[in-house]
Symmetry: C2
Subunit: 220 residues, 2 copies
């Protein structure tokens, strides 16, 4: 509804980002150190206040650009956390985003940031543990009916690496033959002529995604 000049009600508008990447096949989430008085030094998600004329998603990008180039990041609005008590410093409404980035695009890791296993997230400032949980749930759900996993992968990969990605995010093993049959029949990957080399075993064939960096709806 429209603001009525006589009765304006304000809130502080913020955004927080649960940014994930797959590193050596493990799902990681980016944590930084809180700077506010109440939570000083505690791990938190990157985030902060949205400018008066700034799109919320742009602000989300701004808060992670120290850690990775936002251009390479897939963003999706997750949920809005607006409980009047969630920030002890006053009412802050935070629009949380899910972000996914291929590990190759991660910038140098500063001393204030760290990537921790999504399975072992420590206690975070504010309600950020709830944000991480919601993000994981969303990611796991979408894995099954979209090609969202592309946002976590480099351009070239082997089917075993892809399977490990699925397994690590879903938290369960998948059957190798059935997985390959399924992925190939969906037609979302195409094989290249390249092979992995230099490993003491049969070289893996390299694949690429077909509809490059587009996120469509499929079934797994």
């Amino acid at each position: 509804m429209s603001p009525q000049k006589s009765n304006l009600k304000f809130a502080v508008l913020a955004t927080d980002v649960a940014l994930f990447s797959l590193q050596e096949g493990k799902l990681k989430v980016l944590l930084i150190k809180a700077k506010s008085k109440k939570f000083l030094g505690m791990p938190t998600l990157p985030g902060g206040l949205v400018g008066p004329k700034e799109k919320i998603e742009k602000a989300a990008e701004r808060f992670i650009k120290r850690y990775t180039d936002p251009k390479g990041v897939y963003f999706e609005q997750l949920y809005t956390f607006g409980d009047p008590q969630r920030d002890p410093g006053g009412r802050v409404v935070s629009v949380a985003y899910l972000g996914l980035v291929p590990s190759a695009k991660i910038a140098d890791i500063s001393a204030e940031s760290s990537w921790v296993s999504a399975r072992m997230v420590p206690s975070l400032a504010y309600d950020h543990n709830a944000i991480v949980e919601a993000a994981l749930e969303r990611l796991r759900g979408k894995l099954s009916y979209t090609n969202i996993i592309q946002a976590l992968f480099p351009e070239e990969f082997s089917l075993t690496e892809l399977q490990e990605g699925y397994e690590n995010i879903l938290g369960r093993k998948l059957d190798k033959r059935n997985f390959r049959k399924r992925i190939l029949s969906l037609g979302i990957v195409k094989k290249t002529e390249k092979q992995r080399k230099g490993e003491p075993n049969r070289p893996a064939r390299i694949f690429r995604f077909v509809d490059n960096k587009i996120k469509v709806i499929e079934v797994l």
Copy 2:
């Protein structure tokens, strides 16, 4: 993140509700008349500003209580619309909710409100058409893997009525025998000893939902 006293950035916080009900088997959405200058008299979703210490969902309930008792309504946060340009009167961030209510619980319809077919929504004020679209998409999606349809039904109903509800929301016909087999095998409904009476045809058996007003995850 925490507000920093030296650099506060405010937004007007609002909420809008896409409230649906099934009336004679048809999915309807509640529209009211806009009161703001720019959109005076245009149809809009019910909504308005959130109080400084009010939970957003409570505000959403407050804005529909003229039309139905919020206790009987299923609420679910939908999406946050925060484009700096979305309200011509200034920056308003709206947290949109999906609401579902059984038609029996709808209060008297005032002159300023109307229930219109979800398939033929007129042009609405602000970006409210986008909110209705998002709500329909969410509702249709959840129909397939939750028992969310319960939120639109009275306690007692026939299987044909239930099927008509699914059909009208999904926008396609379902096979009667397969539908009944599926619903019964899911175990989400139980039959009662009652029957519909007074119609010039074979009376329908009356059913009830099993796990009353709880929303679990299933498959359709």
